[in-house]
Symmetry: C2
């Protein structure tokens, strides 16, 4: 291991210059004008895989952007890791808010600025350099590895599920490893072991069959905006709890260990409120802010509209009002069930004076990776060695659909080893990756691959 770490140490400049080359390709997946760049980036990724010694490298076309695959499977009896990442990036606009050009990677204050620096080219590159270190210094990996790097993550990964479904045998592994997220804070390495699911609904109310004059008709019919507001206002009680009957049924309770782990994280409600510019936080009573956003199901209004929304005063009593409302779900809730409970409850509380349509627009399941399992424990050990600091446990309030898909299609858990930072401007101007995290990430990756077999073996024995 020491020689590998020395190899990394002595190649830092080359790593950065290679990464800059990767970051120079504007592989913006949403923009048709960049389709040639996307192809070029997939080619770069495939070539680089070959260069560092991976095998069976192949660019798989999809109806959208291609998927790059490569593997190294010469460690019989050892676990197989499926490394997932993406080479596409968000659009760089607005360009005038970038301090340096988005596709000319620039180092300032120990950070490397460029679109994709953290999300996700930089984090994929961390593992490529870790694998390179193994393959160039002795030639063997302590594990088997399969890389699956897609080009449509920023536009919904539309073609990934079909690919995984079709290539189940090719992708068969013991564990998924994803580095496409953040650690808890700078200097606070952490391991994310849970994600929330989603049930995204739309309510459309119709009151009168046409827009009416609010003078000539005001006071005679139920205003659909008012009715919608009355429905929304009833969805939370005074303690910030969601009022939908059955909503909390089956929710995996937080363990004492988890609650204690979250308490160890550096966190200040006051600082959080100040950063968001609010005088007061809001949420379910009896839970801390981090518990609420990571381990409790919540309900948020994502959009609302109805009537006149322009400048000035138009005296309309509108015919229609609509809202988009989504529920974040935690293990062991189900998206379909939450949607059903929502619809039933809204229909029940909606007044007879309006017509109600409810649609389920989108759903995703929550996910959790056993905190005591070998994957998480190997990651914890690797992070401690890579960053010289015991990592903390966290979950994430959002969803990563691919994690659920890997669980459903391949039957395996995911380890989320994020080397980004919460303020690294992913999806915004001046995206960056912190160089301490970048090199700490490479060291962590080296240790993770090295230790995973031992943890898996030990875990098997414990059972």
């Amino acid at each position: 291991m020491q020689s590998l770490l020395s190899y990394v140490e002595s190649n830092k400049d080359r790593y950065l210059s290679e990464l800059k080359g990767l970051l120079a390709i504007p592989s913006v997946s949403t923009n048709p004008e960049n389709s040639e760049d996307i192809r070029r980036c997939a080619g770069w990724m495939a070539d680089h895989m070959k260069t560092i010694g991976l095998q069976n490298v192949e660019i798989f076309p999809t109806p959208g952007h291609p998927i790059v695959y490569g593997d190294w499977l010469k460690a019989p009896g050892k676990p197989t890791v499926l490394l997932y990442g993406h080479y596409d990036v968000q659009p760089p606009e607005p360009l005038d808010l970038w301090t340096s050009p988005p596709f000319e990677a620039t180092i300032r204050d120990g950070n490397l600025f460029a679109r994709g620096a953290s999300d996700d080219k930089g984090q994929v590159f961390i593992h490529l350099k870790s694998l390179e270190a193994y393959l160039r210094n002795g030639g063997d990996l302590p594990i088997n590895i399969k890389l699956l790097i897609e080009g449509e993550e920023e536009i919904g990964s539309d073609n990934l599920e079909a690919f995984v479904r079709e290539k189940k045998e090719l992708l068969k592994s013991d564990l998924v490893l994803i580095s496409d997220s953040s650690m808890f804070a700078k200097g606070v390495p952490s391991i994310c072991y849970g994600l929330r699911g989603l049930a995204y609904m739309q309510i459309d109310l119709v009151g009168p069959n046409k827009d009416l004059h609010s003078g000539s008709f005001g006071g005679t019919v139920h205003n659909p905006i008012q009715a919608l507001s009355e429905i929304i206002a009833q969805l939370h009680d005074r303690n910030g709890k969601v009022t939908i009957p059955g909503f909390y049924t089956g929710v995996l309770p937080l363990t004492k260990k988890e609650r204690n782990a979250y308490k160890k994280l550096p966190w200040s409600d006051r600082k959080y409120a100040k950063e968001l510019g609010v005088e007061k936080l809001y949420g379910e009573k009896g839970f801390t802010t981090l518990e609420r956003v990571w381990a409790r199901p919540t309900l948020e209004c994502n959009g609302i509209w109805g009537g006149f929304t322009g400048e000035g005063a138009k005296t309309v009593l509108p015919s229609k009002a609509s809202a988009k409302i989504s529920m974040r779900l935690v293990p062991n809730q189900s998206s379909a069930k939450a949607a059903k409970l929502f619809e039933k409850h809204v229909r029940k509380i909606a007044p007879k004076s309006v017509k109600v349509t409810i649609r389920n627009l989108h759903g995703g399941e929550p996910a959790i990776t056993p905190i005591d399992g070998p994957g998480v424990q190997a990651a914890v050990s690797a992070l401690e060695k890579g960053f010289g600091k015991k990592p903390l446990y966290q979950r994430e309030g959002g969803s990563i659909p691919i994690v659920v898909q890997f669980k459903e299609l391949l039957g395996i858990d995911t380890v989320l080893l994020g080397f980004g930072l919460p303020d690294e401007n992913a999806h915004a101007p001046d995206e960056f990756i912190n160089l301490d995290n970048f090199f700490g990430g490479i060291r962590t990756s080296l240790h993770f691959f090295n230790e995973l077999p031992h943890f898996i073996k030990a875990h098997g024995k414990k059972r």
Copy 2:
């Protein structure tokens, strides 16, 4: 009077052909391309006033479209009536929905179809023909009259207030007469004696200082859409009453006489609900539908917006949410006071977790013309004689700002003598005026001018 009625009877065809000439001018005030037509129409109006024997006819320029004035003031000691109307019309579009061309007046089934037939050229013309009958048959009017016919009613009467303010002496009168509205229903002549006022507000809420990811932040801050809904939901109680403290203070109570008068109007809640496509009406308990819309103050949401309102599912926890909310006011409420009470209450019930901005966008005062006053009583008597049927009393739920301006600037009440019908398609394709109403209107106008002096005299004595 009999000779006047005979004169009208024998000149019907000429009236219609003259009216068709007036309706042929596309005096669309909102369309700059029609500005020449607007001038032509003002000229037509002035020429016609002169032709029928009015004096001091003048076309007053304004920063917008001109105002046509004319008078006949040779009845010393008799009351002076200020007749207000407008010669501009709404745009005719969409043209393909007209059965006959909008500026080629066409008679079908006893109705005269054309843009402006009812709103308001046809109704102004009714009085012109009534005045003509007097002036051509003996040469004297039983009253003094001043005509004020503007060209910007359909675009907000922006230059009228300044004109009235400047020409107070010229316009000094005892009573305003306006025929620019509808009777209650076909065959149901009615007199409108009250209008509601308006206080139009906007609430802007800011929660977090930027749009957040609803997964990563959902459950930690008060969603401004939710907070706004909670505020709106609190503005009405279970009985449909507005909950703003002091809101109903000063409201002129409905008299027994008024409530009985409204009960005589042909009305069916079931039919009304069916026409509007709602299963159930809604409003303040303890009042009938007509009472609510005419004589009770109400609060309606005119618009609401916030967050993502496009197709599909975007998981945003928005920074902002806004609503436009207006209150309809009745005598003796004040627009400024209602706005103040609204702001105070909303600030009080708004949660600390969001920032609130409240703006007063627009206001107007309610108006009522004393039901027992000589103007209304003369109109009632005239309608009974003109239509052979006792008219019923009604108010109107909307506002007519000019009525309040005449009261404020000239200190006089307005009599609203509407000869239109509720379904006459004002502002829509196939606008028409019913010919029975048109000729009944001329007869009513003759009687109104004839009887007004007697009612005013009798009223003075009663006092």
